[in-house]
Symmetry: C2
Subunit: 314 residues, 2 copies
């Protein structure tokens, strides 16, 4: 198999635990602990984080402090701070917050889109156009990124047509999105499907296709990351401790774990800028903050292989 | 990325739980339960199993009933039965048992070889030559397969040179082995390394290179399986419930789980002949037999995606 010649270019990791992870938990993590989490992530080398969601507090009380968390995140040097934004009202709040980027979710599954956002995918595309106009009118620099969720299948409707995903990639770019990513929201993707869909989406979007978001629900998370990386993806979402599981699959793994992703790329010699030991230490603190919640991931337990450790000094 | 044109050929899975899995547990599973396990595996479509090890009972009391288990396995139609054999004495017992194949382990790591078998790798090569001569003199049909363990790194010596692994692949074939596989005994491998080493080993061994054996110690098990499959490997070892963990990494995952491997290939449309539901049901029974032991794997918890289930009848 021919390895992509860009093998040695670095990979960047966006930590999404403070949004995708926490929104799936019933408990609310105090703002002070979110700030601790962000500070330690930054110290561990993370340079991009999705820190919350501008949705009504009654829908997601866990993320009601998003503006405050964004304000803190902006004080961390070099950290790109994004927040999820489901609609025009959320976009206004995101612009007010000074976030560097907003993540606009669009479900490729018609059924999931209706159930989750009460809009069809094309209604979401239209809203993205309005958000772009709002952003431009405000003269703000906040980057617009669309995450195409359920791109690899949906728990409600099952199969999602690749042609529909590709049509939506083009549509959101036409509507003014500056970056787009593909998300396996429910852990249905397999490596061949990931390679195929990303290859096709690169033809549509070029380097504006800039994120792979994978869940480890059925154990294929890192195999899918590897397949996406082979297809040319160089930026991935992940959650420390693999949080972000689906409430419909109790105990199942959530997002790919940040520390496992860091290990995957370190083992292949691909730089991520992440400090493995610092991530593992932070994972232990997170386990304390989220006591009683299942954390996931693998490498924290066995530790790095001897082959990845520098030899002990004599 | 170009997918190997043999994408749609089937993959075969050798269940090694009764050997690699059980030998790592302190308890001894009664022979009757091993027989139940084998019967259910066979009903689930498994057509190859490593059922024990011909080593002195004082070293591995868990596998002292290997001859009896082989005798039962031989009654299952179409099942290829193998046993691990560390030396000439074990080979005699394997030939007496009527096993279809013997698996001869050879550590590519010099340090691991000395610690585990008290022989250098080249002394093991010589023993393999003697075992071949014994087999031929006996006129037996028992196939000789060598598993090159620690091929991707070693917990004792760390790095294992690829050139040494390739030299040993050639040496064991020269000594009379009919098949050879590469094993990531300690969960050190990464997907790029797997692709690279298998590609080189195929040049040496051609289609006599016929097995990939991966542990999921650090979460890369299935990514490594995928990389090996891309390199052309079509036969894999696995343990139901992912048993076979390393005593030095308490709680860490063991071998790749048979049910997860079945799911990986099913999701990619690659036939394995395995019945997923039957494997999951058997996993639940195994959890009962091994009560108190950690089982691993992922897909058992979330179940198959809707996209892999036939539509419900009206």
């Amino acid at each position: 198999m021919a390895i992509n010649p860009t093998t040695c270019t670095s990979v960047s990791v966006r930590e999404v635990g403070l949004r995708d992870g926490l929104q799936s938990l019933a408990r609310t993590l105090p703002t002070a602990q979110k700030i601790e989490w962000l500070r330690a992530l930054h110290a561990a080398g993370v340079r991009e984080a999705e820190v919350g969601s501008f949705v009504p507090a009654r829908l997601l009380p866990q993320l009601a402090d998003t503006a405050e968390v964004v304000a803190f995140a902006r004080t961390l040097p070099g950290l790109v701070t994004s927040a999820l934004v489901p609609n025009l009202k959320g976009a206004r709040a995101a612009l007010d917050s000074g976030a560097d980027a907003m993540l606009l979710p669009l479900s490729a599954s018609h059924a999931h889109s209706l159930a989750n956002l009460r809009k069809t995918p094309d209604e979401v595309v239209a809203e993205i156009g309005r958000i772009r106009a709002l952003r431009d009118a405000a003269g703000a620099r906040c980057l617009l990124e669309v995450g195409i969720s359920t791109a690899f299948g949906c728990t409600i409707q099952g199969r999602v047509d690749e042609a529909e995903v590709l049509r939506l990639v083009q549509a959101v770019l036409d509507a003014g999105a500056e970056r787009v990513g593909l998300a396996d929201t429910v852990g249905y993707a397999d490596p061949l499907q990931v390679a195929r869909l990303f290859e096709k989406a690169f033809v549509v979007a070029g380097d504006r296709l800039a994120c792979g978001h994978f869940h480890d629900t059925r154990g294929l998370g890192l195999a899918n990351v590897y397949a996406a990386w082979q297809a040319g993806v160089r930026r991935f979402d992940a959650c420390l401790g693999g949080i972000g599981g689906c409430p419909h699959a109790p105990g199942a793994s959530g997002n790919v774990a940040t520390e496992d992703l860091a290990y995957l790329f370190a083992s292949m010699g691909v730089p991520t800028g992440l400090d493995f030991d610092a991530l593992i230490a932070l994972r232990a603190r997170l386990a304390g903050w989220l006591e009683g919640e299942p954390l996931h991931g693998h490498v924290w337990r066995a530790g790095l292989p001897k082959t990845l450790r520098p030899p002990a000094r004599a």
